[in-house]
Each structure stands twice: as C-alpha cells, then as structure tokens.
C-alpha cells in the first residue's frame, strides 16, 4: 500500500503510471521479433504469426492465439496463403488478411468460421498494406493495393466494398496512412512525404495540419486515438504534432527523434527501440526504458505494452486513485483509506451515512469484484473500470462466452443480478448451442432453467454425446412444451422416416407427439402406430374413427379394420366385441328400414328396450339369443319394459312364465316405482324369505315387515323396521319389535 505512488510520474497536472498486468505465460523463443502480432482492445486475446520466411516458402508458420495473460487458447499451422495482417473484430474474431485480398475469419479458439474476398481488383494487384479498424458500424478492413489504391469495407459482417479515389502524385507506397471515422463515414488519411490527404468516398482532399508547416518535413508516422478524437503525426525532423483528428486544432507541437507513435487522449506515447516516451500537452515528457521488443495496444484510457515476457499498462492515473493516494490528499477517499488502515473495516463508516444511498457503493464493490475475477490469470481479461463501463456488462459476458467460460459468465450474471433473459439465460443459450450444435434461434423462447433440460434432451436425440441414457431420462421430460418444441423442430428438419425412427427411441417424445397428433393430425397418428406394429392402438384408432363417420357403410368399414387389427394384436375379446358391434349396427339398420324405428347408435340394451316397448318381442328375443344376453338381464329388461308400458297383465303373465332368475323383489320394486302398490302386493308373497322384510317395507306394510323380521330373528332387520315405525302411531308394534330385538340380542 505504501508504495502505491512509487511508480507515479508527473506529467503536467496529471500523473502517469505503468503497472504490470501479467507476467506472460507464453514461452516465446524469439520474443516478438519478426512476428505479426495483433492484440484485441479491451484486454482481448493476442494472435501471433511468425513472419513468412521468403526463403523457404514450404515451411508452415504456426498461428497462435493467447489470452492477455499469455495462456494458449489455440495453435495451428498456417496452411493458407501469405498473411499480410492480423486483426481482431469487435466480437473477438480473428481476421487474417492474405496477400491476395482474401480475409479468413477464425474464432478465438482457432475454429475456422468463414472467409471473404476484398474484391477482384485487390486480388489482381495484391495487398500492399492493410489496416483493420473499428467503427460504430462494426469492424472494417482497409487495404492499400499494389496499384496504390485504397479499398475499404466498413463492416465485415455486411461487406460493401468501396474503392477510394486516387491520391494525386503517389508514386510508391505512401509514407504512412490511417483510417479515421468522422461524420459517420470512414475516411483514410494518407501522408505522401510532407503532403497530407483525406480520402473519402468521392474525393481526395489535401489538408494541412495547423501549426505544421507543409514544407517542414515529411510525415513518417501517424496515429489516431482510440476514440478517433485525436491524431498524432511524427515527422522525420523529429516533431510530434498532436491535434484533433479533424485537423482543426493543434494541441501540441514537440520535437524529438522517435519512430513509432501511439497516441491517446491529450498525450501521446512514442516508442522506439529501447525507449518509450510519453508526451503531454504541457510539452513535458516521461521516459521509460524497454528491455525487450514490445508492441503497444491502444486502449480507451491507456496503452498496453506487451513484450515477450511482460504485459503492462501505461495510463494516466485515474482521478479517483489520485484523490486517494496523492500525497497529503484530504479527499474523503483518502481519509477513509486512513480509517481503514486503522480499523480494518472495508466499508468503514457507511452505516453512519443514513442520507447517502448505498447503491453506488454496492454496485462499485460488485463491479470491482467482477473486474478482479476476469483479470485473474486464468481468464486474462485485464479491464480498467473506465473500459468496463464503456464496453458494458453485456459485452463482457459475450467475451466470456466466446472463451467458453460459461460457469464464470453465469456467476458474473448472477452476481451482478443481470436480468435473466439478458444474463443467465443468454449464456445458457450459447452453451446449449455449443453443446448440441443447433442454431440459437431455437432457444429464444425458452426460459433458462428449461434450457438445461432441453440440451440434455437434444443430446439424447442426436446422440451427439455419449451419455448414460437411463441416468438422464428422468430429467429430460420436464414439460411437454419443451419436448414439443424439439419434436416440431425436428419434424421439419428430418424426413419422415428418420423422424419416426428418432421418435421411436424417445418414449416420452413419442407419447407427447401422439397426444399432439390425436388433436391435430389423426393420420400421422395412424402412421406412427403402423410403424410400431401397434395393432392394439391401431384397432382403437379405427374404433374412434368409426364414430366420426355419419354413413353406416363407412362406419362398418372402419370397424372391420379395427377387428382385423385386434386379431393381429391377439386381443380376441376386443375383436369379438367389435364384430358384435358391427352385427348390431347391421341389425339396427335392417330394422330401421323395415319398421321405421330409430335404432342406429343405441346400445344393445337400449335397442332391446325399444323393441320391447313397441311390441317387437320376437326381434328382441332374437337379439337375446344372438348376443347371448344373460337370462337375468333379459328378465330385468322385460320387467322394466312392461312396467314402463304399464302392461300389468302381461307382467303378471311374464312372472309366471317360469321361475324368475332375478327373484321377485324386483317385481315389487318396479311396481312401486310406477306407483302401483296394488300390483306390487301381488308379488310380495313370492319373494324369498331373505328379502321379505324389504318387500313388505317397499309396499308400506310395516306390520308385515315386522312379522317377517321377527320370524327371521334378524337383529339388523328388526332395527330397520323399527326405524320405519313412528313412535306415536305404531306404539304396540314398536314394543313387540323391541321385545324381539332383546330376545335375539340375548342369544
């Protein structure tokens, strides 16, 4: 702590510091010498490609990608043409611009994504120099061809090639050039000797930076700041010119001897072999010595210096740090720091500030924690707070996702309480895509917890991953919606045969799809059953289908199919029953035609009832025999039909026709139901002893019931009769019953 300010260097009013980010984890034999190097901004990955050895073109150089901490992310031999330039896109894709104008796109883990061409003109005249730049529209590529013409694509995801006008008087390669983004347009700034031109779509305009005399000297280097706001020029006379990038204002004119400038904000960093120079507005400088070949990576609020062994950040000390650590600072932060040293409480005094909303404090602590987490050596994304705020949490999460650091990304989302659909869900979506290689749109409507199931499910479907099926299956049936989603997707993707085969191995999906078909696609259902030789279900299907038909022939045809299927399924009962049904339908139709009775659709029972009620006894009789209706039921049927017609005479005759298989209590009860106590009484005597009490009670003969109950010496029956006596009117009877009950109970 005490040495926080030790590496601070004053420059005008501000301080600059150079801090070490990482000791690089890579092990480079020759450092960065003779390498094409590209480092992505915002602490992004670093790509390295050994320069082509012109002498032995057959030797294949290795393309290597590292994290900012030097951990290898990918490495593969370069097999394509000669690479002129490496660069990174805003979404962490690596661009390799080849001599012939072809641009190859790789993801950060070295996976080839696609390639595109910068046009015929470029491929014919070859690439001389190229620059990759970022603009609000995405990542662009600018190429200077062998014909000394510039070709520009502003957004590589939506390539529109623009050929810029010729630069007058250009004989050889220009001494230096840069791409600017101004007024929503990408322009090229070219220096040819001491002449400076701005190239836009239509014209080539010569410009003169104010304060820099055109005769002075030729411009050897130029650099645009990260924000495109400032421009730095270096002349062969050793002057550094700094100004706004529209060349209207000059900020500084300084003379020195140097070679490679990188400029940023109102200060510029100039580097040459062993020396690094920070030039400020105030005409002061800071010098650093560099031991090794290094490259500079401009950032929003500083410059990263990457050498073969170290990764450092050179930046203006942020205001907040300055306030806290500046010697003799009395700012609140500094006082708090003192307090912290004294009392070792991290959020000292916060609880006394009742009027101060704690949100800021909390969110800052959270941010810092996240920054520390991603700066970790194993992750290797060194971000300053300013950069983090500029890039937004969304982008940071994307970056983690590109690196396939899904768990960390999820942790960060949860920790920062990012809304689910922007955070956890989105990460899981990408994870899912990665896992099953399905395009992302499929996942869009799903909530995040579902995605997990979904992925497992898809894995099963595609057998992409060798998984223990039995272990997973229980988790893969979360909701029909998910399964439907997959099934519907696959239904469109696969041909029908494959689709069915796939379903076959997925019982849950299959049963759900069947449900769906039951409501939506009846015919598909049939095909499914057919494929599985599920004759039982096919039979059921035809039975259902038969009920949808209005025409009798069609109905019977369906039923016949059902019968066939049931036989195939060895379900004799169903087959026979369905045959019975067909038989009944035919019989009903025949009778309808002959007698004009509405019968079709009635059950056998109802058909017989109808026949009996209209007096077609013979036909009823025939059905009774044909369908082997049990005697008992047929008696019931006739009994009820006759009572319904109130044909009491016929009923009596019927009761005497032979011994009733259902006994005679039903006769009593049916008569009572039709309010004919008189008829009912006729049958009471024929009722068996066990049912006598019931029969007597049914006709309202309490005394008879009492008699029977006492005779049978049955306690519960006596009780029943008792409950039906009224205490006032049947006084004597009650006494008798109670006596009998007592006697029975004694035994």
């Amino acid at each position: 702590m005490a040495f926080v300010t030790a590496n601070w260097n004053p420059l005008g009013d501000a301080f600059y510091r150079k801090i070490e980010l990482y000791e690089m984890g890579w092990n480079l034999k020759d450092g960065l010498r003779d390498c094409l190097v590209a480092a992505a901004p915002y602490g992004g990955p670093i790509a390295l490609l050994k320069a082509h050895n012109r002498c032995s073109p057959s030797a294949r150089p290795q393309l290597e990608i590292f994290s900012s901490s030097g951990l290898p992310l990918a490495s593969f031999p370069w097999k394509s043409g000669v690479v002129k330039q490496l660069g990174w896109t805003v979404s962490d894709d690596l661009l390799c611009v080849q001599e012939d104008g072809t641009v190859l796109v790789y993801d950060l883990l070295g996976g080839f994504k696609r390639h595109f061409s910068m046009g015929n003109e470029v491929s014919q005249s070859q690439v001389l120099e190229t620059k990759i730049f970022h603009s609000p529209y995405g990542t662009g590529v600018a190429i200077l061809t062998g014909a000394l013409r510039f070709t520009l694509a502003t957004n590589i995801d939506d390539i529109k090639l623009r050929r810029l006008p010729e630069v007058p008087g250009l004989q050889g390669a220009p001494s230096c050039w840069a791409v600017l983004t101004q007024d929503r347009q990408s322009k090229v700034l070219v220096a040819n000797g001491s002449h400076l031109f701005v190239l836009d779509n239509t014209a080539c305009t010569p410009v003169t930076p104010p304060g820099l005399s055109p005769q002075a000297s030729s411009i050897v280097h130029m650099c645009v700041s990260f924000s495109y706001k400032y421009l730095a020029l270096l002349t062969d006379s050793g002057h550094v010119w700094m100004g706004t990038s529209n060349l209207k204002f000059v900020l500084l004119l300084f003379s020195c001897r140097c070679r490679r400038p990188k400029s940023q904000q109102p200060s510029a960093v100039v580097m040459w072999d062993g020396l690094l120079l920070v030039v400020g507005e105030c005409k002061e400088t800071i010098q650093y010595h560099l031991d090794d070949d290094s490259i500079l990576v401009p950032e929003l609020d500083g410059v990263r210096i990457i050498s073969g062994t170290h990764h450092e950040l050179l930046q203006e000390v942020p205001g907040a740090c300055e306030e806290i650590f500046k010697i003799a600072s009395m700012a609140p932060g500094a006082l708090l720091l003192e307090a912290h040293k004294e009392y070792e409480a991290a959020s000292f005094g916060k609880c006394f500030l009742s009027n101060f909303p704690p949100e800021q404090f909390v969110s800052m602590c959270r941010d810092l924690r996240v920054l520390n987490a991603v700066r970790d050596y194993t992750v290797g994304i060194p971000l300053s707070h300013t950069q983090f705020k500029q890039m937004t949490i969304q982008v940071l999460i994307d970056r983690l996702v590109y690196r396939k650091l899904y768990p960390l990304a999820i942790e960060v989302c949860r920790y920062l309480k990012t809304p689910e659909y922007q955070g956890v869900s989105r990460v899981l979506k990408y994870w899912a895509c990665y896992k099953v290689c399905v395009c992302v749109y499929l996942f869009t409507p799903l909530l995040y917890s579902n995605i997990l199931y979904f992925v497992l499910f898809l894995q099963l479907l595609f057998n992409k991953v060798a998984l223990n099926l039995s272990k997973l299956t229980p988790y893969c049936m979360p909701s029909c919606m998910l399964v439907y989603t997959v099934v519907m997707y696959l239904k469109n993707e696969l041909n029908r045969g494959d689709f069915f085969m796939m379903l076959r191995n997925q019982p849950v999906a299959l049963s759900l799809y069947k449900q769906f078909c039951k409501h939506q696609e009846q015919d598909t259902l049939k095909d499914l059953f057919n494929q599985d030789d599920d004759h039982e279900e096919l039979g059921n299907f035809y039975v259902k289908a038969s009920y949808k038909e209005q025409r009798l022939e069609a109905r019977i045809a369906h039923l016949q199919s059902a019968v066939d299927e049931y036989y195939k399924a060895k379900n004799e009962f169903s087959a026979k029953t369905t045959e019975d049904e067909m038989r009944l339908l035919r019989f009903q139709r025949k009778l309808e035609e002959e007698k004009g009775e509405q019968l079709v659709g009635f059950s056998l029972h109802d058909t017989m009832t109808t026949l009996l009620s209209v007096g077609l006894h013979k036909h009823a009789e025939q059905l009774y025999k044909d369908f082997r209706v049990p005697d008992k039921r047929f008696w019931w049927l006739r009994l009820k039909a006759l009572a319904e017609k109130e044909d009491w005479e016929e009923l009596e005759k019927f009761s005497k026709s032979k011994k009733s298989p259902i006994g005679y209590l039903p006769f009593v009860e049916v008569c009572i139901k039709h309010h004919n106590k008189y008829e009912a009484r006729k049958y009471v005597s024929k009722v068996t002893l066990e049912q006598k009490v019931k029969a007597h009670l049914a006709v309202g003969d309490v005394e008879g019931a009492a008699e029977a109950a006492i005779e049978r010496r049955n306690e519960s029956e006596i009780g029943t009769v008792l409950s039906r006596c009224s205490a006032t009117t049947d006084h004597l009877l009650v006494e008798r019953l109670n006596r009998a009950k007592a006697t029975v109970a004694k035994k």
Binding site: R414, S511, V543, I662
Partner: protein, 633 residues
C-alpha cells in the same frame, strides 16, 4: 377476505399474496382500462386467488368468456386473454383478434396460465396474429391455496395425463410449485415418497435445487418433511364412497374450486304470510371453507355424527338468543347487540348446513337423530323449511336404500368378501342401467380388492357393460385397464388381504361419533394413503417394508441440505409439520383423515395437504373415460 388461509399451522396467505402480486404486476403492464377474456376453465382457480374487486382496482372493466367470433363490444383500451396453453383455444383467439375493429385498434395481450407455450405461439403466428399482441406473458399458478391446510393445483386431468398418456407436464408443474413453496417457506429437509411419479417429482426438485444453488433462500424451514404419494399406490380409496360430511357433499353435489351448487328448494326463504311464494330456480351457490366456523367444525365428521353436532350448535345459538331476556342494563344490552352480527352469521350458517344435511339425508339413510335434530332446530326459532311430509319421506326411501346397498357391497369388497366372483348386486345394477360411473367404480373396486379379476369374471363384466351402455365404452374400459384399475388376475397371489391386515385398512369397530382412528371417514375403511402417512410418522416405513414392496413403484427418502444456522430447534412438545402431496388427486375423506391425525393429542405431526386436484370416485373415473362421440361435430 382470505381469512380461511390464516387459521392453519402454516400461513398459506403468503402464497396467495405472492400470486396476487404477480397478477397485479401483469395487469399494470397493460396500462389503461381493460377487458379480460377468460378461458372458462380458469375462472374457478383464479377465484381462489383474487376476487373481482382486485381486478377492478386495476382497471378491469369488463369480463367475457372466450368463444368464437367477435369479442363483445366494450369501450376499453386493452383486451387481455387469460388462457391455458391449448391449441384449440389459440384458434379461437386468432378469430377474435382477426375480427377486431381495424379502425379503432385496441392493445391485445395474452396471459398463459400456467406456462407459455411455443407451440401455441407458433399457432398464433401461423394464423397471422402473433404480432398483434403487445404483451405475451405467463402467469405461473402451480399450487393454489385452497384452505388453511390445503393446496391444490386444480389440474383436472393430471392423473389421466401421467398414467394413461405418459405426459408428465403436471409433474413438472408440481415440482415447480414445490420449488416456489420452498422459496417462500424454506427448504424442506426431508423428502419421502412412494411411486413412480413421486420419484420423478423428487428427482426434478433435486435437480432444480441444484440449478438454483446460488439463490438459496435464507428462510427458516416451515415444513419438516415432504411426503410425495402417487395416486396409483392407493387406487382403492377414491373408489370408496366418502362418508364424511364434506366428502358426501362432494360425492353427491360435487365441490368445484371450493364452491358447491345445491338444489334451491331447501333454501327458499319462507316468510310468514307469504305461503305461495315462487321457488327459486337458480341453484344455490355456497362457498365452503374453514372461514365458516360451523363448517370447519363439522366438515370432517362422519356424517352420522353431523346431526348431533348440528343440534348441539342449535342449542347453543338458541341459548345465546335467549340471553336477550337476561339483558337488563344498558351495558348488557349493548354487549348483546354487539354480538348480534356474529350470532346472526352463525344462525344462517346453521340453517344452511341443516338444509344440506337434509339433502344428504334424503339420499343416504334416515335415523332418529335426524328427527331429533329437526325438532331442535324448530325450537330454536330458525327459518327452517318444513319438509317432513309423508310423501317426501316415502320418495326418499328407494334412493336411500340404493345408497345403503351400494355401500354394503363396497364394504364387502373392502373386507375381501366374495371379491373373486361376479357380484349379483353389480349385475342387477347393470341390468337396471344404473349410471355407468357407479358401475365402473364398483367393478374397479372389486378388481383392486382382489388384485385383479379372473379373466372370465372380467370379460363377463366388460361384456355386460358394453352391451348395456354401448360398445363405444370399449375405449374407456381399455383406459381403466391401462391405469391398473381393472386388470385380469395374474398368477401372483392376491396380496390385498395381506396389505389390508398389515396396514389395518379395515377396522371392525369404527367409532363414527367419537373417532379414535382414521377409519371413521369411511365407516370402517382406513384409507391406505393416509395409513402410509401415519406409519411414516410413527414408527417409520421400515416396519412395513414388505407391504411397501407389494405396492407399485419405488419408495425412497431424500435429504436436502439446509444452510447452517437455519436448522430448526424444536421446542419439547412442538409438533413436526409434514406436507403430504398427492400426485393424481386427493379425496375430502383423505383430507379429513389427515386432519384427524393432526388433531390427535399424541400424534406429534401436523399435516398440510397438497394435491394435483381434489377428486372423488366419480370425477376421477370420468376423467379416465373416452367417449368418441364427443368428437363428433
């Protein structure tokens, strides 16, 4: 408004409030006046969450039922569809939206309950209306607080879906609901379960828990144990006729979403001097829950004990009214008056339940108590309809005998009498074409109590049913076979007697008036599911390992880590709280039995009950029926 939710051991109002908050938030998303178009099925469950007043506060001005054609005109800014994710409903919505007035466009929103469905959204897209919706959202309504100790998913067909159609969506929702419950009431440390579905739900819960590992709630666990029970572990109980007061109301009139509709005749207000007043024709709709003091007292009693309870209550109330004669001083009168509203509420509650009891009596049995009761009520000067005419009594005789006979047969089956032969009673019932569901309940019961029927017996029943009720029911019979309610006897021994004896499912001397065992809820039969629950609490399932193996599906125990510091320190004598979740539905009698266990002095456990749906034998069998004619245009 939701006082019934406060009275239990666990304050289920928290859950209701959470659900209401979500609803308010959604309604406020659609700013301005609005009309709700309801999927009719949802109105019942929503009624348990929010009354119209809540909707009105959030500018809901009109409510319509979802049907084809145009939405009735209403001068509102928003149209909001509340629907289940069903494809057929999407077609109707598409039609509604398409016929909206193009000149006066209104904002259209859709709220899926309980979950969004891509399939539905795709259907809307196909119909070209998906872009017309300003908001497409989901309202997660998994477990709905039903009463102080009762949660229901109100998912009608979950048993059918799980066991017949192999669609386990409702189990997913159950697991989600349990996660939500744990978020509000703390992690449940112990999970027990029996059955395939139970295993499945537990697996999903454990998995979800792992997923949400980061966001663990710091809430002291309210529940000690969760018991998940598959309905198919105990197929017998719902088939039996429930004999508690509430159970009988459900059996006879059907309770839907906490409301019962009753025939209006007995509730006619008779005012003196207005003899010939017209009888109301609209059914009387009553809400039944524990907010009503009297109902809470008698709902779980065996019906044979309800009469006594009602008459006792009548005495108390009439005594309370008599108090007015003793009120001499102004102070006493004032006190009396202040109690009046409460007494009047109690009096009207008593009148209602006496009427319901009468209605039930008509159908069940008659007894002395009934007459005594009625005399009591009359003495209490209550507005009681006079229904004791001779004719009314006569007409109910046959109905009550039917009920009694059917009950006798049920009890014979449950005690294992003649379960292997064709039952004459069932035969007669078929011959008289009694309601099909009654027949199916009895046949299924016989099959379950005999661990399957002899092939000959089974085929005979099937043939009889098909000939009498129509061949189309072959599909229903197949469904019943698929879920195991009907089955041919396998070579295995009938293990039902062993189960019955080990678990003491039949108690010969069930005491209906002052019960000492859960068997009182079925006048002798102790519901298997509740016995399993009882044994689990004491002495533990290890003692019945053999029987558990005979019942279908695995049994298991899981433990969930509770963060340190949240371990419950139980006071001596403090009861444990167990959540019993019935996957596939629960009957009121089972609930009554569990409440009985909670109230037992030495039980040591209090039960909260959750279920996919409140069912009875009739509604259950109905959900399994397949009648193809329904599909006819």
């Amino acid at each position: 408004m939701a006082s019934h939710l406060f009275c239990g051991r666990v304050n289920l109002n928290i859950l209701r409030e959470a659900a209401r908050k979500d609803l308010r938030e959604f309604l406020d998303k659609c700013s301005g006046s609005k009309a709700i178009v309801w999927d009719e099925y949802l109105t019942g469950p929503f009624g348990l969450i929010a009354q119209y007043s809540l909707l009105k506060e959030h500018e809901v001005e009109k409510m319509f039922t979802l049907k084809a054609g145009r939405i009735p005109s209403a001068a509102v800014k928003n149209i909001v569809f509340f629907v289940r994710p069903r494809l057929e409903l999407m077609d109707i919505i598409a039609e509604n939206v398409a016929s909206e007035d193009k000149l006066q466009p209104r904002d259209v929103h859709i709220l899926f309950v309980p979950r969004r469905s891509l399939l539905c959204e795709q259907r809307l897209k196909e119909k070209g209306v998906l872009n017309s919706f300003t908001n497409i959202d989901e309202y997660i309504l998994d477990l709905i607080p039903y009463d102080g100790d009762l949660l229901s998913m109100e998912s009608e067909s979950s048993f059918r879906e799980c066991y017949l159609e192999n669609d386990q969506t409702s189990l997913y929702h159950a697991a989600k609901g349990l996660m939500n419950l744990q978020a509000l009431y703390g992690t449940i440390p112990q999970i027990f379960g029996k059955g395939e579905c139970a295993r499945h739900v537990a697996n999903m819960m454990l998995r979800m828990k792992r997923e949400f590992a980061g966001s663990q709630t710091q809430i002291l666990p309210v529940f000690d144990t969760l018991l998940l029970l598959d309905r198919n572990v105990d197929l017998l109980t719902p088939l039996a006729t429930q004999l508690t007061y509430e159970g009988l109301i459900d059996e006879i009139f059907g309770i839907t979403n906490g409301y019962v509709k009753l025939p209006p005749e007995k509730f006619a207000q008779k005012k003196q001097g207005e003899g010939g007043k017209e009888l109301p024709t609209e059914p009387k709709k009553l809400q039944l829950n524990s907010a009503e003091e009297l109902y809470a007292e008698i709902r779980d009693k065996n019906f044979n004990a309800v009469g006594a309870a009602l008459s006792k209550k009548a005495k108390i109330i009439s005594a309370a009214f008599e108090e007015r004669h003793n009120a001499k001083t102004v102070g006493e009168i004032k006190q009396f008056v202040s109690q009046l509203p409460h007494m009047q509420a109690a009096r009207s509650s008593l009148a209602n339940h006496t009427s319901i009891a009468e209605l039930i009596k008509d159908i069940t049995t008659d007894s002395w108590l009934y007459f005594i009761l009625c005399n009591m009520v009359r003495n209490a000067h209550l507005n009681m309809p006079d229904v004791f005419s001779q004719t009314a009594l006569l007409s109910c005789v046959s109905a009550s005998e039917d009920f009694f006979d059917s009950l006798t047969v049920e009890q014979e089956f449950m005690t294992g009498v003649d379960t292997d032969k064709v039952s004459t009673y069932i035969e007669d019932c078929i011959a008289q074409k009694d309601p099909l569901i009654k027949i199916l309940r009895l046949v299924c019961m016989q099959s379950v109590c005999n661990n399957g029927l002899k092939q000959k017996v089974l085929d005979y029943y099937k043939k009889e049913i098909l000939q009498t009720y129509g061949y189309k029911h072959i599909l229903t019979l197949k469904n019943l076979e698929k879920v195991g309610l009907l089955k041919p006897q396998s070579t295995m021994r009938n293990n039902y007697p062993t189960i019955r004896k080990t678990l003491k499912l039949w108690m010969e001397d069930a005491n209906e008036q002052n019960p000492n065992d859960i068997s009182y809820v079925y006048s002798g039969y102790a519901p298997l599911s509740v016995r399993l629950t009882q044994v689990l609490a004491r002495p533990g399932w290890r003692s019945i390992e053999e029987v558990l193996k005979m019942l279908p599906g695995p049994h298991f125990e899981e433990r969930q880590q509770v963060p340190t510091g949240l371990h419950k320190k139980r006071q001596p004598g403090e009861n444990r709280t167990t959540l019993v979740f019935f996957l596939g539905g629960v009957t009121y009698a089972e609930i009554a039995a569990l409440r009985f266990l909670s109230n037992m002095e030495d039980s040591g456990t209090e039960y909260i009950i959750a279920a996919t749906k409140l069912i009875n034998g009739t509604s259950w069998i109905k959900s399994l029926m397949d009648s193809p004619e329904e599909n006819l245009p």
